[in-house]
């Protein structure tokens, strides 16, 4: 038996952003940057490990909104155009740096090569559907793929509306089944948002496990035996895997985590902001909106705007050191825990997938080295998925109730319910109530009214996404987030108003269906509380 089990769980999620009505849309870049900088490099890393016969187990949650966007021909075509622009920019940058800034030439060449590799992988290897790459790794036994709530709603703020919570879970599971051909065993709780009783709905949909925030065990009303270092079974048998805050913080902490090392690449210095407008204009957004291009040449250096050029060789040394340090810390902590627990500890390490590669440029190389080191020390460290852990060690787990919690600031719901976003719930809750009313009054409609009601259900679900209140709280793209929440609710009201008059706004419906291609087989009766 290994001394320590380690379960990496990556949450790959982006809100549904798709605007074919515009030639280019700024917020669609969230998806393209994630594919380019995180998802494709992650797949390359996994495939290289597999080719090198390095054993590994990883868990990845792919949200239904992300899966929908990754398989949408409109966005797929736009990603190809995005990558082609990156290549064009890279070729110009190699020339420019060669002539004017040779200290940046190596990185310009690196980015250009990565963009070309990305485009080649995307078009030739995955035929524009990168989900096939994840599926193949699942089939080969390296990944456990799991789902999450339909639109990644923060569920503790909807406890008054069990039909809405059920709809989020049921559609999350259905969407996974449609995409991957089997039911998921695990369910990523959006933002680690848990409230007592949520497991009942998860069990109803065949879910065996979910992850929770670190403090969910110490704050449990029960005397949890092993803290965050073994999962517990909820009273209904579904397993809860608490996140190890200390282990996660080695990476996650924005003050002391590995990504803050001064040798690593500075995320916020990008030629999209640094170079003259006439040069960079074709690669940013209309009208002259400077954005990140991905071409970044500076190292973090320190808390100063005087940055030094990024040295890839130096950063790679730090990656090796940080990977070793991570393994060292796990082993050291594991020894302490084994003595204290008299059982092998499990470290559940949960992160957003986009942290690796996109935010932390060197993060994927770090993961690669951690996995390789773990493989070398397989007697002491065993990478597992939660399902595998349950199969090995699932009997005899303690039964206990996790506490209400999230991984957000303060550990509860304050991020998604504060002065910046509390106003949304008045409207979203009302839309849910009205959707329930429509589902009861007009149950089992067919043809046009069925489509109209299905669209209403989509609008409610899209308004519930946790991304909008988070962005409002975080004050990043607040105008867009506010518009999205309002638009979905206003659109819902179109259906409600028309159905109350027994009418269908056909023109609106057709346009709405064209825009929101998500959940194409949704059944609005899912909102019927009597169902």
């Amino acid at each position: 038996m290994p001394a320590n089990f380690v379960a990496f769980i990556l949450n790959a999620h982006l809100p549904f952003v798709r605007h074919p009505e515009y030639p280019r849309f700024l917020e669609e870049d969230w998806l393209f940057e994630s594919i380019s900088e995180s998802y494709l490099p992650l797949l390359r890393m996994f495939n290289k490990l597999k080719a090198d016969k390095v054993p590994f187990k990883f868990t990845i949650s792919l949200s239904p909104t992300l899966c929908c966007m990754l398989t949408d021909p409109v966005l797929q075509e736009r990603f190809v155009q995005y990558e082609e622009r990156l290549i064009e920019l890279g070729e110009k940058e190699v020339e420019r740096c060669g002539n004017e800034q040779p200290e940046f030439l190596e990185m310009a060449q690196f980015y250009l090569a990565q963009a070309k590799q990305n485009l080649s992988d995307y078009q030739d290897l995955y035929r524009t559907n990168i989900l096939d790459g994840f599926k193949a790794l699942e089939t080969s036994g390296h990944l456990e793929l799991v789902t999450t709530a339909a639109t990644h709603a923060y569920l503790p703020l909807y406890t008054e509306y069990p039909t809405a919570i059920n709809a989020q879970i049921e559609l999350g599971v259905q969407s996974f089944l449609t995409t991957f051909g089997h039911l998921p065993k695990g369910f990523w709780l959006p933002e680690c948002g848990y409230y007592p009783g949520l497991e009942e709905n998860l069990k109803y949909h065949g879910i065996s496990w979910f992850q929770t925030a670190s403090q969910s065990m110490l704050l449990s009303p029960d005397k949890v035996q092993h803290g965050d270092y073994r999962p517990v079974r909820c009273p209904n048998g579904v397993a809860a895997f608490p996140r190890d805050f200390q282990g996660t913080s080695l990476v996650w902490s924005n003050t002391s985590g590995y990504p803050t090392d001064k040798a690593y690449r500075e995320f916020y210095r990008d030629i999209g902001y640094d170079l003259p407008m006439e040069y960079i204009k074709p690669y940013i957004h209309e009208p002259s909106v400077r954005v990140f291009t991905g071409y970044k040449y500076w190292a973090i250096t320190g808390h100063t705007d005087q940055k030094v050029p990024y040295q890839r060789s130096e950063a790679r040394k730090r990656v090796a050191e940080h990977a070793s340090n991570f393994i060292y810390n796990l082993k050291k902590k594991g020894q302490q825990l084994s003595r204290a627990m008299d059982e092998s500890p499990l470290f559940t390490l949960a992160y957003d997938a986009e942290l690796f590669g996109h935010w932390w440029f060197e993060g994927i190389e770090w993961l690669d080295q951690v996995i390789r080191l773990a493989a070398k020390e397989s007697e002491e460290i065993s990478l597992v998925t939660p399902s595998l852990f349950l199969a090995k060690e699932g009997t005899g787990l303690q039964t206990a109730r996790p506490a209400f919690s999230s991984w957000g600031q303060g550990g509860y719901s304050a991020v998604w319910l504060d002065g910046s976003n509390a106003w949304t719930y008045r409207h979203i809750h009302k839309a849910i109530e009205r959707m329930e009313e429509l589902a009861v009054r007009f149950n089992d409609q067919i043809s046009l009214k069925q489509r109209f009601l299905n669209q209403a259900a989509r609008e409610v679900l899209l308004a519930m996404a946790s991304d909008w209140p988070f962005i409002l709280f975080n004050k990043s793209s607040t105008e867009y987030a506010e518009k999205r929440v309002c638009d979905h609710l206003r659109n819902f009201n179109v259906v409600y108003g028309n159905m109350c008059k027994n009418a269908v706004n056909t023109e609106w419906l057709v346009k709405a269906e064209k825009r929101d291609i998500i959940f194409s087989d949704i059944d609005y009766n899912i909102f019927n509380p009597d169902r």
Binding site: E21, E160, Y195, Q215, L218, L219, S220, P221, K223, V224, H226, G227, D228, D244, F245, Q246, L250, S253, T255, S256, N329, K333, Q336, A340, M341, A403, F404, G410, G411, Y412, S413, A414, L417, A422, Y425, R426, H427, K430, S447, L448, C486, D487, L489, R490, N493, V494, G497, N498, N502, A503, V504, N505, T506, E507, W508, L509, V510, K511, A512, K514
Partner: protein, 243 residues
């Protein structure tokens, strides 16, 4: 591909499309006449369709042509029927959302009849509005209440929850000038549960292994405790005897 047969549309829907298509006489036409008029209108549009596509067009594509005809550049929210969100939904209700074990957020609205009751015919508050917070201690079922005065303009409030291990609900209440009180709406309840270790912290303080397993995971290597007020309280308790 959107497959809509014009015969499957209700008369109301046909009237709406006819109105959108600019048929001046749409209100006076019966169902049959509406279908004929719309077919004629779409046949005219079909003349603008390239000959190669004409063979593919049939009666199943009316709604589709409606969209294509208008182009995809038109923003969906500029369409007729899409209106701004109302400030209030004018029903009488109050909702309580648990933000954390110490605070809940309440929002409410009043229907027209409730507004009439509260504000009277002249529209001036005839008494006072207040929130009555009811706490039920889960272990003992003991009930306590406290009131929060609000004004007619208020529609939301952050409510302090004094104790963990209790269930809370809120009544939106009105008190008339004679002192008579009535509940206009009641929220659903929210519950908070005290952590086991909050009342048994001495076990953690006295047992090194317990402490290592339960508390060390919540502290970074640099000594930063996970961001949580209750855990900070427990840490504060522990620091008196151990740290």
């Amino acid at each position: 591909m959107i497959l809509i047969n014009i015969d499957s549309l209700s008369t109301t829907e046909l009237q709406y499309i006819a109105q959108q298509e600019g048929l001046a006489t749409w209100q006076s036409l019966d169902r049959e006449a509406l279908i004929d008029a719309l077919e004629e209108a779409f046949e005219d549009q079909d003349d603008e369709v390239p000959a190669a596509l004409k063979g593919k067009i049939n009666r199943n594509r009316y709604c589709n042509s409606l969209t294509d005809y208008r182009g995809t550049m038109q923003h969906i929210n500029g369409l007729p029927g899409v209106e701004e969100l109302p400030e209030s939904y004018y029903d009488t209700s109050i909702h309580l959302l648990l933000r954390d074990p110490q605070w809940a957020y309440a929002y409410w609205s009043l229907s027209q009849s409730a507004m009439h009751t509260v504000f009277g015919e002249e529209g001036e508050l005839d008494g006072s509005l207040f929130l009555r917070v009811q706490e039920t201690v889960l272990d003992t079922s003991e009930i306590k209440t406290f009131d929060i005065a609000i004004t007619g303009e208020d529609t939301q409030w952050n409510i302090n929850l004094p104790n963990m291990g209790s269930s809370y609900l809120v009544d939106l209440c009105y008190r008339d000038h004679k002192g008579n009180e009535m509940s206009l709406a009641q929220s659903k309840s929210v519950e908070t549960h005290p952590p086991y270790w909050q009342n048994n912290g001495e076990q953690l303080a006295l047992d090194e292994n317990l402490f290592a397993v339960h508390f060390s995971s919540l502290v970074t290597k640099e000594g930063e405790i996970v961001d949580n007020a209750v855990i900070r309280d427990i840490a504060q308790f522990l620091s008196k005897g151990v740290l």
